[in-house]
Symmetry: C2
Subunit: 210 residues, 2 copies
Amino acid sequence: MTDQSVTKRTRQRRPDTRPSEILAAALALFSEKGFAAARMEDVAARAGVSKGAIYLYFPDKSALLKSIVHQAIGEQIAVAARMADHIEGPVAPVMAQLAGMLAHRIETTDLPSIIKLVIGESRAHPEIGQYYLDNVVKLALPLLERLLSHGIATGEFRAVDPNLTVKCMIGPLMLSALWHAVFVPLGAAPYSVAALADQHMDIFLRGLRP
Amino acid sequence: MTDQSVTKRTRQRRPDTRPSEILAAALALFSEKGFAAARMEDVAARAGVSKGAIYLYFPDKSALLKSIVHQAIGEQIAVAARMADHIEGPVAPVMAQLAGMLAHRIETTDLPSIIKLVIGESRAHPEIGQYYLDNVVKLALPLLERLLSHGIATGEFRAVDPNLTVKCMIGPLMLSALWHAVFVPLGAAPYSVAALADQHMDIFLRGLRP
DNA sequence: TTAGTTACTGACTGGTCAGTCATTAAACTC
DNA sequence: GAGTTTAATGACTGACCAGTCAGTAACTAA
């Protein structure tokens, strides 16, 4: 309150930077209080604008939620897909690398909060859950499934059910994201997601050997 | 509407059965619409009572949420603990059995919806998240950790980080619960959690062999 | 300097809903 | 079957908040 009134006492006109500031504030408040309990006035206050200003950039409250998810997902899966879809040698290192990338994103971005939001609001706002399902789940899982099937075909892995096994692969990472978004704020011990990903892939890939 | 008005047209006095009926209705609506968006009047309607009647049995709305979680958790962890804490032979079959039990509970009870609720409401209602953390997470994980450490000590498993490895073990089951609570209602393909637990433990235990 | 344009403000409105309570009805008592 | 107790009702109230809009401040072009 006191210090920021030094830097900006009067109102500012910054139409370019407002939307992202508002989204950042909204994500913080939504994941802190839940979507329904977060007040637009508080989002505005945290973004340093008045309530009305939000409605210059977003049609309504749920548009904030949608924009947050859209922005966070973006191109990311497509990038991973390109990386994974034409490989020559063994697939195990590629899988380990993908797990490491995901772990890194869990530790350095807002992904955990966003996953938490998607889970919590998917019924009240099915478009959100649907978007995540279509643009993340339905791209990422088949991608890993192809990778796994390829490994089985070449004899690198033993025969397992690819559909189920893919879920075994990402389960621990999903749990890590939720652990850090849900339980750490309540006092649970945080841990290195990268270390977990390493440990998991070590066990997992060894368990897939013929 | 029409048929139940045949069976019970007038108001009934059934103080013994009301609370559980109200809780069942509340769980259904909370997991359908989210806690905040569920209206007490709708909970009452689904339970076949008036809104006022709910307040004869529960002090307020959040008491419904608390009771749902309390009731669902109950003794269950303690039972598993008793089963797991004095074993003689190899621990691998015990771990597989515990995973199977959890898978069964995910498939046959409201556990997935409850997990979803805890995740979604843990910030707005920290007591809920705290209760789950204290009575489920902080009991179940150390229990599995002890089991795992014992297996490492006897040479049944190779040396891994027990703390991280336990999270690798339950991650896929957690994901299954959320899959069925969040994505299946949106059109994702359901799958057998028991089969996933089998597949997972097959890979996991093989990956732990010395 | 001034006239015009665009960004922003915040008091206000209309609707929603948790929780209350005076009233009614069922069940029990003697 | 009159009197008492306890369960249940639903209209009502007070608080809350998303979204609006008349007004104001900042910037721009002339």
